[in-house]
């Protein structure tokens, strides 16, 4: 026992020294680390994480034929496990397009293009369920936005939105989530806003929801008008946020307060 503890100590000492030596001491924190033990436990246990109910719905939707094509996701993609790493790359520019879409947008492109079905409206349960199923396959994978130079202008616009003061409270994303992260707002720790776990089961919603929905909550929070549901601003901000969280591990479906 004592030996094990000593070994563990040595290992962590080594890890810390190594990180410092590499100049990569991680200061970024997932919102997971800001939650209490009870909520972390809820996320960690797949038999207790409510997000897993939606993953199960997504697994059923994956195999179900849809649209005029009569094809299911599985008909083209095979088992959902083949989607490992996909959620870690989005938003990305799909083949033949000139602007990025997020994972939900990509699923809807499959739906309209391949399945010849109606796209799902924002926050549709089946859409979120498929996103959760696909994102789960990337759990533990590092966030890895593609090295596509065409993404740069979108990412830069996202960064500009992130720093732009908005709303009656005249706050930017950066003021809360960079300058004041770790401090408290209404008794809750302000997270660094890394999108590591989307779609998330937000206790406030008592349901699964997308990063876009969470961004709208922030906009309402600073008393700004939320952009229309199909606005490019969301995807630009998502592109920036995923780059900002590059290398952090996917934990979908995450639980958040």
């Amino acid at each position: 026992m004592k030996a094990a503890r000593a070994a563990l100590g040595l290992v962590s000492l080594f890890a810390a020294t190594w990180a410092v030596a590499q100049g990569t001491l991680e200061t970024r924190r997932s919102g997971y680390q800001d939650m209490g033990a009870a909520l972390r436990q809820m996320q960690d246990d797949d038999t207790a994480n409510p997000g897993m109910l939606f993953v199960q719905l997504g697994a059923a939707a994956w195999d179900k034929p849809a649209g005029a094509s009569g094809k299911s996701c599985a008909d083209c993609h095979g088992a959902a496990s083949g989607m490992k790493g996909v959620a870690a790359r989005y938003p990305a520019i799909p083949p033949g397009a000139d602007k990025p879409v997020d994972l939900g947008g990509r699923i809807n492109l499959c739906r309209t293009g391949r399945q010849q079905a109606e796209p799902w409206p924002a926050e549709h349960r089946d859409l979120l369920a498929l996103e959760a199923l696909v994102a789960l396959q990337s759990r533990g994978e590092p966030i890895a936005p593609p090295a596509d130079p065409r993404l740069a202008p979108f990412r830069e616009r996202g960064a500009e939105i992130y720093r732009r003061r908005q709303g009656q409270l005249n706050l930017s994303c950066a003021i809360c989530h960079d300058d004041n992260a770790g401090k408290q707002l209404a008794g809750v720790v302000i997270p660094q806003a890394h999108p590591t776990g989307y779609p998330i089961y937000r206790l406030e919603w008592q349901a699964l929801g997308s990063l876009q929905r969470r961004l709208r909550n922030c906009l309402v929070g600073v008393r700004a008008d939320a952009w229309p549901l199909d606005a490019m601003e969301y995807v630009e901000l998502e592109t920036y946020l995923m780059d900002r969280a590059r290398g952090m591990k996917i934990e979908s479906p995450a639980v958040r307060p």
Binding site: G36, A37, L39, A186, V188, L203, C218, G221, P257
Partner: protein, 156 residues
């Protein structure tokens, strides 16, 4: 056994007294109060004595969102044919109603431990009462501080 969802006489009186204020304070009308909780408990235990002990509530002392609060209730009991917990009743003092759940168990349970997730409208006290096969009532309680999430969604 059903969960007692109807208003108790005490609640009904509170409600009647409250109706005059309804236009100003709609939320004041039919909420659970420590008194309503006490009445709801009395409804379950009758005139029996409730002793403190044997019942443990495992609930985070501070929770980031009251909509989903993990709660585990454990009762010390041999859970034998001769001596077991028959029922566990859980109450709160500040939700719209004082009832949370009524669970029925027995010697086939092996262990008197129940986990669930509850809604708490505010920081408050939760009380659990265990009813044994010998007709005894034991109670335990826990205080929970509910903090409010920031940046909520506007209902539009």
């Amino acid at each position: 056994m059903t969960c007692r969802n109807g208003p108790t006489p005490l609640q009904r009186r509170t409600f009647l007294a409250g109706t005059a204020l309804v236009t100003i304070l709609p939320a004041a009308a039919a909420r659970a109060t420590p008194e309503a909780m006490a009445a709801a408990i009395r409804d379950v235990v009758g005139n029996a004595t409730v002793r403190e002990g044997k019942v443990t509530l495992d609930v985070p002392p501070l929770i980031e969102n009251g909509s989903t609060v993990p709660l585990t209730v454990s009762v010390e009991s041999p859970m034998s044919e001769a001596d077991h917990v028959k029922a566990i009743h859980v109450f709160n003092e500040k939700n719209p109603q004082p009832y949370v759940f009524d669970a029925t168990l027995g010697p086939a349970s092996g262990k008197a431990v129940i986990g669930t997730r509850i809604k708490l409208g505010d920081s408050q006290k939760i009380v659990a009462i265990a009813e044994t096969s010998k007709g005894e009532f034991w109670s335990g309680s826990a205080d929970v501080i509910v903090t409010l999430a920031a940046c909520l969604e506007e209902m539009t």
